[in-house]
Amino acid sequence: MNGPSLHQPSDPLTPAEQVQLLFVRHEGTIRAFIRALQPSLPDADDVLQETFLTVSRKAPSFEPGTNFVAWACGIARLKVLENFRQRKRATVLSEAAIIALSEVAPPEEMTGMKELALSRCLEKLAPKSRDLLWRRYSGRQSSDEMAGALGMTSTAVRVALSKARAFLRDCVSAELRNPS
């Protein structure tokens, strides 16, 4: 069925609708998993959508009660690899590396804790660094665009972004070890 998946109150949920609801519910975790393996944001969006479509198609094979996120991330991993193959670029990680990484991906519970820690760490970040991160991730600006808007060089933007992420990484690790 095309378009919005709307159902009447009395209609039972189909398997596809059930997994779609689960997907929407856990989409943040699945998206974070994809983005970690496929850093390009537009490509990650495409992979997410492909994953959603495949999850919907394979809905009958999902066993209720089993780990939906693990099942969906397994499909997402294949979609990342497919995306890499389609791009035919030499600058993508090897299949073996992606598979090895997937096997040690942080569990879903950890993602929730990291989100909380990250929000606390963002508050500790200097406003200028937060602005840069916002422009990069929410506004999706390139380093050159940011440099133009902020009167910085592209190299300075890249260095500042790198430092901000490193701060967040270390801060989140510390928060997880010793939550405030």
Binding site: L93, G139, Q141, A166
Partner: protein
Amino acid sequence: MKPTGLDALIEDWLEGRLSEPDTARLSVLLEQSPEARARYWETASIHGLLEHALQETSWRAMTGQSLPVTSARPRVRYWRPFAAAVAGLVMLAGGWWLNQAADGRAVAHFGPLHQCRWVDGRLVVSPGDPIHAGQRVELASGQVEMRFLSGAVATLMGPCIFEVESDKGGFLTLGQIATRADTPESKGFTVRTRTSRVVDLGTEFVTAASADGQSRVEVTSGEVDVHVDGTPRPQRLRKGDVLSVEAGSARVMARIERGDETPSFHFPSIEPPSAADYADVRQGHASLLLVSGALHKAPAPTASSGTLDVLTNGRGQSRRDAPTESVFMSDGTAGWLMMDLGSLVQVTRINSYSWHQDLAQEDNRLRAVQQFVLYGSAAPLPPPMPDNDASPSGWDQVARVNTDEFFQVIGRADRPAQQASSITSTLGTLGRYRYLLWHLQPSRDPVSRQLNNTFYGELDVYVRP
């Protein structure tokens, strides 16, 4: 022990600037070193989570300021958790009614509720209850009205997730919302989705967002401006206009319009059937082939489908019930129609036209609905054809069209007899394709439950030279 230079490699990879040799080096490290993999996740998880963490409400809450103005890049919104109505499948305990109001202001109140089932079964909501900025309303089924202080009234139709951002708008993650914003204070009321921003200009409109990212806007009265991410200018929609926007980097839009029901096929903004398009038979570039399914054939006096060339002859039907001037599949069956464009071309726009109104029954326009999925391929030879209704592998899905959904057809008379759909992209091009493939689907009459196939009169394909 952490390999030397690993952090720099991971950082450059995440920023998309890692050289080919360094990518190979990072791959080897990740394959061989558990420490490298652990470090990768430490850093990459932050990259994966940052977009959500930095979303607009967080920014406002943190800084108390409006978002900085940025370029018009596509911005994908993190979908909030949506609880399944099937509790047996739910694996995480969680707060369904996440009410982290950014500033605690009540900006709206609940109005009448109709058979509401909330995603959080424990929730009790009564008419008059306040709704705060930053609050998310998660409706599993039923309908609920929200009355904003600006005077706007929005009706959520479940299942629906809507985050109220202010007294002048919010973010629709999933489902459908009908909005009436006809007071001076509510002018500019905005419904945002993952792909677009619908700004009221004193009107009534319906916005829908599906879980796979497609969004749709229909104007029932007045005008709205639709700002599609990635485009500099808004699309102005007027009463009766419908626009859908697909998710994904191509930013595909399908515009659906009703025609004047004359042989001139006049539509508000979509051009009439053309002989000047790339696929027209006179141009000599394209050819059509029915790769699966059968055209309708019937003994006289019942009419059969016309031949495929009526779809590229530069004109629609000459009258409202003209089977032999139309192409339609056997009743109740789907069809796969492939167009070979002759060479790889940059496709910019694809229009399809249909017209049907029974001569005896005024409300019988069953064969006017357009319901299809369009695929494309840039391969030199057509990818394998599907042998069932599954999505074909090797083909890119370009767009989905279901005009009955767009026109919210419930009764037979709701369906326009003459329809056009125009598929375009905010990028100016749908992509480079050699082959196009339409999965033509039968429609079901909501009253008789019969399956019927559409009277298509013309397919026009426009390309960039």
